[in-house]
């Protein structure tokens, strides 16, 4: 029984990392409808930036800032240099998925070429293990949870109480209408890529801080869980991604306690399948029928 309760606490840690990444992914998808499968590899690249920062003895906070900054700038450049030209020339939704797969391959293999098939760890200590009732967490994990909560609140405030947030939601709903209403959708899209990239970068650093050892493929492996959380919550819906992350984070850990660790991923996929069965349109059919990629 105590393992069960502990698993809930462990699930919150996983959910926190997942939430940071999934909200970034879904924010970007919600506004641009680009299914960016290079997201996980961008997380890895940001993690390497964080690694370099911690090697310079600047600590976890600086690593997250640097990782976030890298992720934001890289994502804006990625959109402007690669994705946007394709969209302007008429590449549609599914074509863009293929483009993002190509970008993912380039990034992943580029990282392998630079860093080799070696493993790296952030130069930080996980800190003391603290016990809160049945829950045990390290100080680094508490930091990750705190950052995730802060980010979720910030995203909520941004979307609900700022002009940019309203412009982002308007662009996500109908980019043409938003543009006709005077919204600079090109700037909004840039801001969306910047924000989602920042979350991607912070998520990458948080992920490798938790798993302790990473290589060029780490983020790419995490993308499956990110997609699952994003789809579960309703892709393009930041609040849905938060809920999705929490459900997936808790479900994978609790399933490891109740059933078998072998079925962690299976549990995540089973939840995804059930959700898609309940909502028959599903992610791809909805996107294909009702939405198209947005560049400006």
């Amino acid at each position: 029984m105590s393992v069960f309760w502990s698993s809930l606490g462990f699930g919150v840690v996983t959910a926190s990392i997942l939430a940071i990444a999934a909200v970034g992914f879904t924010l970007q998808f919600g506004a641009t409808n680009i299914f960016n499968l290079a997201y996980g590899d961008t997380m890895t690249a940001a993690a390497f930036v964080g690694y370099l920062v911690t090697r310079a003895h600047l600590g976890l906070w600086a690593a997250m800032l640097a990782g976030g900054a890298f992720g934001g700038i890289f994502s804006v450049v990625l959109n402007r240099a690669v994705y946007a030209p394709f969209i302007r020339r008429g590449t549609r939704l599914f074509g863009m998925i293929i483009v993002s797969i190509a970008v993912s391959l380039i990034l992943s293999n580029g990282l392998q070429a630079i860093w080799g098939a070696n493993f790296y760890s952030l130069a930080i200590t996980p800190g003391r293990s603290l016990r809160f009732g049945p829950f045990i967490m390290t100080t680094v994990q508490l930091v990750i949870i705190a950052i995730a909560i802060a980010i979720m609140l910030a995203v909520h405030l941004l979307l609900r109480h700022t002009r940019l947030g309203r412009a982002m939601r308007a662009t996500a709903n109908n980019a043409t209408l938003a543009r006709n209403c005077g919204i600079r959708t090109d700037l909004v899209i840039d801001m969306v890529w910047l924000l989602s990239g920042i979350l991607c970068g912070i998520g990458g650093v948080a992920l490798v801080a938790n798993i302790t050892s990473f290589d060029f493929g780490t983020g790419g492996q995490f993308i499956v869980l990110i997609l699952t959380a994003a789809v579960l919550g309703g892709v393009g819906q930041p609040y849905g991604a938060m809920i999705g992350a929490l459900v997936i984070g808790l479900a994978t850990e609790v399933s490891a306690a109740i059933f078998s660790p072998e079925y962690k991923e299976l549990t995540a996929f089973a939840i995804l399948v059930v959700i898609l069965l309940i909502r028959p349109l599903g992610i791809l059919s909805e996107v294909a029928q009702q939405k198209e990629v947005v560049v400006a």
Partner: protein
Amino acid sequence: MKRTSVLAKMSIACALGLAVAACGSSGPSSNGQGGGSLVFAEFNPFSGPDAAFGPEMLVACDAASNAINAAGGVLGHKTTCKGFDTHGDPADAVAAANQMIATTSNLAGVIGPSSDEALATVPILDRAHIPMFADTGQAAFDHATQKFFWRISPADDVKGFAMAIWAHSLGYTRGAAVYGNDVGSQSNVPTLVHAFTALGGTMVSNQSIALDQPSYRTEVASMLAAHPQVIFTEEDPATAATYLSEVAQLNGGKLIPVVGTETTLEANWVQAVVRAVGGSLLKKYQVGVQPYAPPSGPAYGPFRSALYASKAASQSNLAVYSTDPYAMGYWDSVNLMALAMIAAKSTDPAKYNSFITAVSNPGPGKVVVSTFAAGAHALAAGKQIQYVGASGPAVFNKWHNSTGAFEVAGYVSAGNIHLDGVVTAAQIAAISGK
């Protein structure tokens, strides 16, 4: 026009992606020689979770190939090595195998496949009449019927016996089996559990864990709750690093004694785990069981020298490879194939295959040689030889398997291990009946 432009751009993007990916899928060749050179292919993962396998194999082959060329080559041919990336995935590996066979006209032999892709690709290589020195440990090949299949390293199921025997010798009676849910890792478990139980122990926890998860804290908590005295383990480096660091976090900063497979002594595993838990904890708590190949003897010196002459790996990786029985096995595999060609007086894989046991197995009147150069010289003089290389004697049975003793070694520092003991073939036979 616009459509053409978009298509062109998409093609370029895809081509770029595939081109960069291809850096791994058709790996680098050594020596820079093509044309008439005989090619030894390293058919293993160069990317994916087991991406560390291929580079080690390529470096060891490169070292052997250079030594062969320095000794005059094989029947007038130079040799070279070329990596083919299986991505550690059976589906990708089938395509890679077909591509390798179709595009490598002077393919002389293969090192690999690994457990990741052996079941899918051994039949393909066998049908193509290409001798393969597989590094798979799968028990499915204990009684291999494929004529061109050779295994110089012991099967995984035998390793399970050795691990249980070692833990029993230290007085451990409560064990936890923590293995990745991949085929290669899982093949160790049945014999481990069987042997540990037969020796009077109890496997208090048996976890098959999903690889590369962001956390294993629930699994660790569950395992710790069963109060094991020893953890038996094999999983990929990233998984092991996360799992063991969380064991330390939830166990007051300490690990539980770990008895791992030879994977836990490999360069990338050690690197990942040392960076996660620190070298001192690993040194104190972990040993790995691997085929017995002491870093000494007449064959070891030439192997080590040739390995260090390679420019294809970092010094720290070379240090680890130089004591790794698998690297020694790759070196020996190339030498055995090259010597078999000379014994057969043919570089045709279909012909020299049946001469491999002629240069490996013991026999009356045979001259024992420890290098390719010595073997080639003896064969040229009309003598029969038994090649005993850096990894020790390779005595193949009728299923082309060679099994010997196991050593138990622990991490000291990068490239340095200490020998804790040896589990003999007789001890294994006593409990396994093999």
